[in-house]
């Protein structure tokens, strides 16, 4: 390590059991001025208790509007290594599966063209290449596409959809999360690369209501697995659980949110008409219980962080939809949603805020869906109904 790298505050973060990002940055500091100056600037931030980055500038690769976050040091004289420190967002694979063969190609490219630092992964799901110069953006992009990798989104565009491990390693998956994730990412390349929306649009895909991608909280559109029929029961495995001495009554029956489970000796009885598909019993008794056979997904819209009208969870727009190749029903829905949002939404208005502004009823009408009681917690409690059908003097009703 070079002598001029004095980072006593950061050095303290090399101690302790949790893996240290400081160690990792330092491991690049010998090879890369960028990494070294990143540490030096960060040390100054730790001293002064403030960041030293300028507000991002518009940089990118030819023909793309998103995928790169421009970043410049506010103190380029002091820290020339990070005078440019742009981020490139790369589409991760479905379910974040890699082989060493494939990922080594990326590490090689990034060591050559950038800081050698990454976020694996970014909060939206992208493989984030952290820190390079403007003039390296296009060469890095070419090297990446050459190996079959492409940029993710940023700005007012579709972001790289992400999905849970689903059918690749989970017994709960109610549809093929990886396939639909791959399909949508490819189907909407243009929307992903060229910001034309009112604001960002994130898609997250979870195979069941455990929602391991946090779709209900962090995606403008969630595709979340669900079933319509009865929970499947393996009585033999169920009896084994009881025999094992497990407190099925306390741990399962009493935790069912609708109290629709009864334990009768070694037998479990579920009033499926009252089961709200919360997954708890299936989670605790994975060998005995599994989701029903009539599987599909609920589509939720509108989750987002609090800026600016307060955080929103996604709300159910399609209570149940089959999710099957070639996913045309999903495309059709997405396109109806985008079209209506595009026409009536305003700039920097996320889909969730848009629906609240125009009202759920108007939104459903706009995208051509029928209102269903599954879309709400409860009907309105205020009497301010905008009646549209009424009787006119001449007797012609409308």
């Amino acid at each position: 390590m070079a002598d001029d790298l004095k980072t006593p505050l950061l050095d303290e973060l090399e101690q302790g059991p949790w893996p240290s990002f400081v160690k990792d940055i330092k491991s690049m500091a010998g090879k890369k001025e960028m990494a070294k100056d990143l540490l030096r600037q960060l040390e100054k931030s730790y001293e002064d208790k403030r960041g030293y980055w300028k507000h991002g500038g518009l940089v990118g690769v030819m023909g793309y509007g998103g995928g790169v976050i421009g970043r410049y040091s506010a103190l380029p004289e002091e820290f020339p290594g990070v005078s440019h420190f742009h981020t490139m967002r790369i589409n991760q694979t479905s379910g974040w599966f890699y082989t060493s063969e494939a990922l080594r190609e990326i590490t090689k490219i990034w060591e050559e063209h950038g800081s050698g630092l990454l976020n694996v992964h970014g909060s939206t799901g992208d493989l984030v290449l952290l820190g390079t110069r403007t003039e390296e953006l296009e060469p890095t992009f070419r090297a990446l596409t050459e190996k079959g990798w492409d940029l993710g989104g940023s700005g007012s565009d579709l972001r790289t959809p992400s999905c849970c491990v689903g059918p690749a390693r989970c017994e709960n998956a109610c549809f093929d999360t990886l396939a639909v994730n791959y399909n949508l990412t490819h189907q909407y390349q243009d929307e992903l690369h060229r910001p034309m929306f009112n604001y960002k649009y994130k898609i997250k895909i979870s195979g069941c209501p455990n929602d391991c991608t946090a779709a209900i909280a962090r995606s403008d559109m969630g595709i979340i697995g669900i079933w319509k029929d009865d929970i499947q029961v393996d009585s033999k495995a169920m009896a084994d659980y009881v025999d094992s001495g497990m407190d099925v009554q306390g741990l399962v029956v009493e935790n069912c949110p609708t109290g629709c489970i009864q334990l009768d000796g070694k037998e479990i009885r579920i009033d499926n008409s009252n089961c709200v598909k919360c997954m708890h019993c299936i989670n605790v008794l994975p060998k005995a219980l599994s989701p029903g056979k009539e599987r599909g997904a609920a589509i939720t819209l509108g989750a987002k962080a609090p800026i600016v009208e307060g955080a929103l969870f996604g709300s159910v727009i399609i209570p149940f939809m089959k999710i099957e190749e070639p996913f045309e029903e999903v495309h059709d829905l997405i396109e109806r949603i985008w079209e209506f949002w595009d026409e009536h939404g305003t700039s920097r208005e996320r889909i969730g805020e848009f629906i609240e502004r125009v009202s759920l009823a108007a939104f459903l009408e706009g995208i051509g869906e029928k209102p269903l009681p599954q879309m709400i917690k409860a009907p309105r409690d205020n009497p301010y109904v905008f009646y549209e059908e009424y009787f006119a003097e001449e007797g012609e009703g409308e």
Binding site: T99, L103, D150, M279, I307, V308, G310
Partner: protein, 358 residues
């Protein structure tokens, strides 16, 4: 050189198929159940055989060296196959049970931890902080490191009543999971933007800037004949939305920026519906590199939760059972006017019944 080959665009990500272990392909969509063999070690059972997952911590902000080391291990133990989780852990996918122990040893030798499964604290979803973002009121990676050094034992064991998800975000944009986590740590600005009247007229569109404020705190004005804006400090809630659209309105303020602590959010539908995270501690000082006030506050909350919640009770479910008055008592946190909501739907948070604990 690179310019000579044909330029490719809009190719999207590679097909996932090539990244799936052969055993996974055979069991694809046919998994029957899973077992947690040890902290960080899962077995998934399918008709074609079992696959073993070893889950390993990652600082997320990593170097190519880190990834290369992971890949070396993957080549050695999991036929080159591995994945990352939605919370940024590494998962090695092993066809052979015998590889578990040697892999664990090599992982630990690298200074990484095996764990994060089941009733554990898993990896911390977090953001850029002072490492990369212009908006940050604090550093994310440093906070995560400091907090997880204290909580590592909960990553490598499964002794909590339920899963406990921690998130960190460095400003109110909350890039990550702060608004729905069991415990969240949020960087906050606490003073209005400082307007750079010199550069503002060139850098920002005045109407857009005025419109950006959710609370109508920004007015157009002019100073020495130059059009600029002013902020009504009474109305400013330090959200930073103006700064996002106008670089000449930074909020950073070393004296006052700091950290707030939030509790009780959850995402999954198990038992209860998803819940937002609620304010626990409005402000703790930014105290790098170790943020001792923050780490001890978080640790305290984890510990009273661990000692008092029932099995499968997430933090929010536990607090709902015992009531917020008792939570504040037990956690030794002062209840202040800042805890009272005053935003759009504040009225929906008022106690509108006689159901109460004294």
């Amino acid at each position: 050189m690179a310019t000579e080959v044909e330029r490719k665009t809009d190719i999207g990500p590679p097909h996932y198929d090539q990244f799936l272990h052969p055993l996974i392909k055979e069991n694809y969509g046919k998994w029957q159940y899973h077992e947690t063999l040890a902290p960080g070690v899962l077995m998934h059972h399918g008709p074609a055989g079992d696959i073993y997952t070893v889950r390993v911590s990652s600082p997320r902000l990593v170097s190519v060296n880190f990834l290369n080391a992971i890949m070396d291990l993957a080549d050695k133990y999991s036929d080159g196959y591995f994945r990352f989780t939605s919370r940024n852990n590494v998962e090695f996918l092993l066809a052979s049970k015998d590889n578990i122990e040697p892999l664990k040893q090599e992982v630990e030798a690298l200074g990484l931890l095996v764990g994060g499964t089941n009733n554990a604290i898993s990896n911390v979803v977090h953001t850029q902080g002072w490492v990369h973002c212009h908006s940050a009121a604090t550093d994310a990676s440093g906070l995560v490191k400091s907090v997880m050094d204290e909580l590592a034992e909960y990553f490598t064991s499964m002794k909590l009543p339920a899963k406990l998800r921690v998130a960190v975000a460095c400003c109110l944009n909350m890039c990550g999971a702060v608004h729905a986590s069991d415990i969240a740590i949020l960087g906050v600005h606490r003073t209005p933007p400082k307007i750079d009247n010199e550069t503002l007229p060139n850098l920002c569109e005045i109407p857009t800037t005025v419109a950006s404020c959710p609370n109508n705190a920004i007015r157009p004005t002019s100073i020495e004949g130059k059009a600029t804006v002013k902020v009504d400090e009474e109305k400013c809630m330090y959200c930073g939305n103006c700064y996002t659209v106008c670089p000449a309105m930074p909020l950073a303020d070393p004296l006052n920026d700091g950290v707030s602590i939030w509790v009780g959010g959850k995402i999954c539908n198990a038992r209860t519906e998803p819940m937002f995270t609620k304010l626990a501690i409005p402000y703790l000082p930014n105290n790098p590199p170790r943020w001792p006030e923050v780490t001890s506050a978080v640790k305290k909350i984890v510990e009273i939760y661990a000692a008092n919640a029932k099995p499968y009770e997430r933090v929010g479910e536990w607090i709902n059972r015992i009531g917020w008055p008792q939570f504040f008592d037990m956690a030794g946190i002062e209840f202040t006017k800042y805890h009272l909501d005053d935003f759009r739907h504040a009225g929906t948070t008022y106690r509108r019944s006689l159901h109460n604990r004294y």
